[in-house]
Amino acid sequence: MNKTVNQKAWFFVIPVFVLVAFNAIIPLMTVVNYAFQETFGNNQFMWEGTRWFKQILVSERFHAALGRQVLFTLIILVIQIPLGIFIALNMPKEGIGVPICLVLMSMPLLIPWNVVGAMWNIFALPDIGFLGHSLNAMGFDYNFTQQSGDAWFTTILMDVWHWTSLVVLLSYAGLRSIQPAYYQAAEIDGATRWAVFRHIELPKMKKVLTIAILLRFMDSFMIYTEPFVLTGGGPGNATAFLSIDLVKMALGQFDLGPAAAMSLIYFFIVLTVCWVFYNLMMRNESKS
């Protein structure tokens, strides 16, 4: 059969290209533009080369924010992934309980992020908030607006409340796709509950868990709205994660050059970690 060359198909790509250009490429290139120049009023620009990048990479402020960010993300993953799996394992598998649990689990995911922040802000207020007031009534010296430990505790609790459901729903979907015959085979072998989890459920959930970890990593690493509303990055800089620090630098101080350089570095970190993680998981997948 003779194949004729027809390049008209490229026209079909144009809409997507335009869309991506507007929502990704053009904004990103603007940032790149700022990152290499000093910006003055009246749209005057001066070439600075890699100065902002060097400055950010050695800046203590960036290191501190990155440190807080990594710690936050680690804590989030360590709590949410096992907790999500645990809840999914204990969710009902049939009957009226299933839709009830699924709806309950989806609720936090449906609430706008700034509302979550505002809710928790009020909820945790030491004088009138239910959580803050109760903790103080129980004898804890709790005040998330003044003590950085409390601010961290509240932020993490909020994120766990908001996002564990995602891990639960993904794990639950993974668990439901395991054929009952696997459990029967394990029963015949006399396998313990732990062995069933370790050798059947966990390997079978591997793919959805990869997705869950990736999503939770990205979202928690880029978290902005909720801590911004809850603590505003405070007290001091205690909960100023990367994105909050970035906004402070860009819009608070109007240091557009360093802020642009920082966003590119930030973007690069997220991209690299996701890429490495995804490839590691996929390589294991093809090996086993």
Binding site: Q179, A181, Y182, Q184, A185, E187, I188, D189, G190, A191, H199, I200, L202, P203, K204, S288
Partner: protein
């Protein structure tokens, strides 16, 4: 050693999955449960294994009542339609898994594993993981897991259903050999009559949660005690025609085809069951009867030709050896081997076969 089901019944809610069933399987036998999907084969096996409890009735094993005894305490193996192996274990670890819990020392485990692996031609794959294997090899691994411990009862729930044709043929021929000289009862569930014939042993035909007939496979095949059993044990589906018998002359009600019979039956109306391979494009047997029909479809498959045709108000299926090309709509002549007819009365009970 024997496995006996006494009045087993299974209801889930208001729905009856198994109607009162009595079955007895003897030591060192292969027993086929033959029935279409939803006939209750799997439910019955799970009750036999102890994975599921019957609503009513008792299960006796070796003259002991084991109703309600859990599966772990019963020394049972089961192979499923899906290839069930532990995904992160190697083939070797998978085969060894049923033994690990028994406390047998590692040396003996290794010995047994390599013996079974050899039997199932898995030796080159021992260090691979299940998802690196083909479907056939995965199912061999599952079979090896079932054979490695000396179970009293081995249950195979449509083990070949998910394999492609060639692998299925290959494994199907090996199966009876695998269970030979084993001190156990094998129960094999399948939807395919040809599986039952190839495996031999005993067959129980099932329909909608009822065991219709149980006996030696060939006996059940040759003398189905009623029409349902005959239908279950016929693929492609059996042709069933209404006939009238007067003296020694039988005639199709829908057509003027007649033949002689020496069956000792009262005159009247009967049904006759004719398996597709007893209607052919060539004469077979001493008492061949000609039947004419209009070709609906003709399917050729390898060395067989299946011709669907109409005669009277019935659609007939015939299966001939060799390639016989027929055009759609063609008027054709076929031959029925009346020696192989099965006669049923109006209550669908078998009243005679020649």
């Amino acid at each position: 050693m024997s496995l006996e089901l006494k009045g087993i019944e299974k209801k889930i809610g208001e729905e009856t999955h198994i109607y009162s069933t009595d079955l007895k399987f003897e030591k060192n036998t292969i027993n086929v449960l033959l029935g279409s999907t939803l006939a209750g084969k799997t439910t019955l096996m799970q009750i036999m294994a102890g994975l599921d409890k019957p609503t009513k009735g008792e299960i006796w094993f070796n003259d002991q009542n084991v109703t309600g005894v859990k599966v772990q305490k019963r020394n049972v193996s089961m192979v499923y339609q899906q290839f069930i192996n532990y995904p992160n274990f190697t083939v070797k670890q998978n085969i060894a898994s049923p033994l690990k819990i028994t406390g047998i020392d590692n040396q003996e485990i290794d010995q047994r594993v390599s013996k079974v692996a050899d039997l199932l031609k898995l030796t080159p794959m021992l260090d691979k993981k299940p998802n690196e294997l083909s479907g056939g090899q995965q199912q061999r691994t599952a079979l090896a897991r079932a054979l490695v411990k000396d179970s009293d009862l081995i249950l195979l729930d449509e083990p070949l259903a998910n394999l492609d044709f060639k692998l299925r043929e290959e494994l199907r021929e090996e199966l009876p050999k695998l269970f030979k000289d084993r001190d156990c009862i094998v129960v094999y569930a399948t939807t395919e009559p040809s599986d039952a014939l190839l495996i031999g042993g005993y067959t129980a035909t099932l329909l909608e949660g009822k065991v219709i007939q149980h006996g030696k496979t060939l006996e059940v095949y040759n003398k189905p005690n009623n029409l349902d059993s005959a239908k279950v044990f016929s693929d492609p589906p059996m042709n069933i025609a209404n006939i009238n018998k007067k003296g020694e002359i039988c005639s199709l009600l829908a057509d003027n085809v007649t033949w002689k019979t020496n069956l000792n039956l009262r005159d009247g109306n009967y049904k006759v069951g004719i398996r597709p391979h007893n209607i052919t494009t060539y004469k077979e047997g001493k008492n061949s009867i000609e039947i004419s029909g209009k070709v609906l479809i003709s399917e050729l498959s390898g060395s067989e030709s299946m011709i669907h045709f109409t005669n009277g108000d019935l659609n007939w299926v015939s299966l001939s050896e060799g390639i016989h090309q027929k055009d759609v709509g063609e008027e054709t002549k076929l031959f029925m081997n009346s020696d192989e007819f099965l006669y049923f009365d109006n209550n669908d009970r078998l009243v005679g076969n020649v």
